[in-house]
């Protein structure tokens, strides 16, 4: 349906643009968050671009965090008596008495409000819009040791700086290191987390690749062999077995879940990667169906001619049919890789120890332990798990779209 009028086309473009924004925004937000320092992930109003702020603190150029913005005219003072002696204090200007050099401090004692006057030294007058800033440091974790100040916006220089180290830290914490250790502010000895309880991110990646690649090899070859038997050889019992095969596609996974667990337990596979890739070597109903439909479209004469030349059945399959079937093999390989990469239920059921985890399970495990505050690290880890799939998609886009359109599925 081609729109003719300029107006109709404009409406379509507007809708497409709005839709694109809604669909892409979460992904953009994922990347923005992954590249920010932690305090900027929760900044109000939210910022998009990760920045670094530099200001002069104690006479030195220092990287700072902007903690909050001052709302009313205030003073920055340093008490010369009392408990907070020597520590800079930000007080509303109404509570400051310039003549006396005191601020009114309200304390609660036994539920009763008590106002006391505290002698102070004036450090500076602060106008609304100024920022409370704190030195950003990885080595000094205790906030009392960190220098802070209140500075006007013009005194802080800001520049765009994505924090790529978030990725390094996220991947290290995903393996079980503490954030402090990953940031390099403490060593493994200090945290008390032994080296052996931490698993490297690369271990998760290699587990995932083992499951994906062995699974792809298994799925491509087993289903091709089986489908050939259904499509190009006529034998007694074939149609009954094929009907049974189609019927099993109706069975939902929850029915198989419990007995499969017992089967794998009997085989001694629980806690290993085997339940996740070995079954791929024994075919799957849907892929058999898909490949059979493809093999049926290849002309019968091909096989007949080869048979007359004395070619064995296996020879026909291997040398004639398989090379002609690359499109369908590619679809099966791609979708198996994708579903194995994304699979969460399988690893959750069968993997028990951390060093066997796949990326999907390791990511969930990471979230359940560090979730809640470390959004920048969580987003960085999520981006890492997503990226290979997106790259794969851009290289195989045609196969992808054709595969979904003809099969109606994605793993």
């Amino acid at each position: 349906m081609q729109p003719r009028s300029f107006f109709a086309r404009s409406v379509i473009y507007a809708l497409l643009a709005a839709g694109s924004f809604l669909f892409l925004f979460p992904l953009i937000w994922l990347l923005c968050t992954a590249l920010k320092p932690v305090e900027q992930t929760m900044a109000m109003p939210p910022t998009f671009v990760p920045r670094t702020y530099v200001a002069v603190l104690g006479g030195k150029q220092t990287e700072v965090t902007r903690d909050y913005q001052v709302a009313e005219p205030s003073v920055l003072v340093s008490p010369t008596e009392g408990v907070s002696q020597g520590r800079p204090l930000l007080v509303p200007r109404t509570l400051y008495d310039a003549g006396q050099g005191t601020v009114k401090q309200v304390t609660y004692e036994g539920g009763e409000k008590k106002a006391t006057l505290v002698r102070v030294r004036l450090l500076k007058m602060v106008e609304p819009g100024a920022w409370h800033v704190t030195e950003r440091s990885q080595t000094k974790v205790r906030s009392r040791e960190l220098r802070s100040d209140v500075l006007a916006e013009s005194e802080i220089t800001s520049s765009v700086k994505p924090r790529w180290e978030n990725f390094r830290i996220a991947l290290a914490t995903m393996g079980g290191k503490s954030v402090e250790e990953a940031e390099g502010s403490v060593t493994a000895l200090e945290t008390g987390v032994g080296e052996d309880s931490a698993v490297s991110f690369w271990k998760f990646l290699s587990n995932t690749l083992v499951v994906c690649l062995l699974g792809v090899i298994g799925a491509v070859f087993s289903n091709a062999i089986i489908a050939y038997g259904f499509a190009r050889i006529e034998w007694r019992g074939r149609n009954v077995l094929f009907a049974l095969t189609l019927a099993t596609m109706m069975v939902p996974f929850p029915i198989l879940m419990v007995p499969l667990y017992s089967v794998f337990k009997e085989l001694g596979w629980i806690g290993t990667l085997k339940p996740l890739w070995v079954p791929a070597f024994f075919g799957s109903a849907f892929n058999i169906f898909l490949m059979r439909q493809f093999f049926l479209t290849l002309p019968r004469e091909l096989s007949d001619a080869a048979r007359i030349d004395g070619c064995s059945e296996w020879g026909i399959f291997w040398r004639i049919i398989l090379p002609l079937s690359k499109p369908v093999l590619a679809v099966v390989a791609l979708f198996h890789f994708l579903s194995a990469w994304n699979d969460f239920t399988g690893p959750l059921l069968y993997l028990t120890r951390k060093h066997t985890f796949t990326l999907a399970l390791a990511l969930q495990n990471y979230q359940s332990q560090h979730g809640g505050t470390q959004w920048h690290h969580l987003m960085a880890a999520s981006a890492v798990v997503t990226l290979p799939i997106v790259v794969l998609f851009f290289f195989t886009q045609k196969t992808f779209i054709r595969g979904i359109a003809t099969t109606g599925i994605k793993g």
Binding site: L24, E313, F344
Partner: protein, 298 residues
């Protein structure tokens, strides 16, 4: 049996051998075992003990079971229509033949590629009650009415709509299937409809939708099967299988999972799995019956 029939049987069985093993070990045996377990008391640690229909009878009185069924049906009722409207609308937009269609298709498809665990993390962050970007955007709007935006996944009333919203973001697959269906619709039909004076909406309603009705039917069935079994995103986003907050996201598959693998009541869980199967078959038949007069095959 003639000599070449025998030869064909031998080579046929040879090619199918892997599948005969695979089908028996990984599908047929589990199906039969599951049926047996569903009539037994079974904890994996000890062999199953036959108890007849005990599990099914207990399920009928299990309030948590009914709660999980209700939750699942509500979620399906929210996410299925939403997903269909979004994916059909996007496919219709992409099918207008405007320039840059391949690019827009990629944009809409990209989210469905994100691994479910990763997209769960992302939406957990977006739905965050305090700092989530959704509420940051909503706060000034609802403030006009003197209200606060919901805390989504922490609010029992909003957790299911939040999950449905997230699922609409990943409709890329069904969109591509609809698009393939739309591209098969003969152009002449639109032209003759236009000659008869049909406007855009009438053409969509009387030409497009009937012509792609088999695709809609296919996606509807797939959608029913998928959303009745929703598990991963809920497990990740609500931190386990207890359906937090206040059991509002305790879906069928989560209750089944925790019954089987946390409580080790494998027989009871198997009975649940068979009831789920019956539910899927029932809803599929219902959808088939209701859509029979509306699905047009060419």
């Amino acid at each position: 049996m003639r000599a070449n029939e025998k030869r064909d049987l031998k080579s046929g069985l040879g090619f199918a051998a892997l599948w005969i093993v695979g089908l028996s070990v990984f599908t047929l045996y589990p199906v039969l075992a599951s049926l047996f377990y569903s009539f037994s008391d079974f904890s994996v640690l000890e062999p199953p003990v036959w108890i007849g229909t005990g599990n099914y009878e207990r399920l009928m009185h299990d309030v948590v079971f009914w709660k999980s069924l209700k939750n699942t049906l509500i979620y399906t009722a929210l996410s299925l229509p939403l997903g269909m409207i979004v994916s059909i609308s996007l496919a219709l937009l992409l099918n207008t033949g405007v320039r840059g269609m391949a690019l827009f298709r990629t944009f809409f498809y990209l989210p469905s590629l994100v691994p479910l665990v990763a997209s769960s993390m992302l939406w957990l962050w977006i739905f965050n009650g305090n700092h989530g970007i959704l509420n940051v955007a909503l706060r000034p709007i609802v403030a006009v009415f003197g209200a606060e935006p919901p805390t989504w996944l922490s609010d029992p009333n909003w957790s299911k709509p939040a999950l449905a919203l997230m699922s609409a973001w990943g409709v890329g697959n069904s969109m591509v299937i609809y698009l393939a269906g739309l591209q098969d619709v003969p152009q002449e039909l639109y032209e003759s409809a236009e000659l008869d004076g049909a406007g855009f909406w009438r053409r969509v309603w009387h030409v497009t939708l009937p012509m792609i009705s088999p695709v809609i039917y296919f996606n509807l069935i797939m959608g029913i099967i998928g959303s009745l079994q929703v598990f991963t995103q809920v497990f990740v986003m609500t931190g386990g299988a207890d359906g937090a907050p206040a059991r509002s996201t305790l879906f069928y598959a989560l209750y089944l999972f925790s019954t089987a693998f946390y409580d080790l009541r494998m027989g009871y869980a198997s009975a649940m799995a068979w009831l789920l199967f019956l539910l899927i078959v029932g809803l599929t038949l219902l959808a088939t019956k209701l859509s029979k007069s509306r699905v047009h095959y060419r």
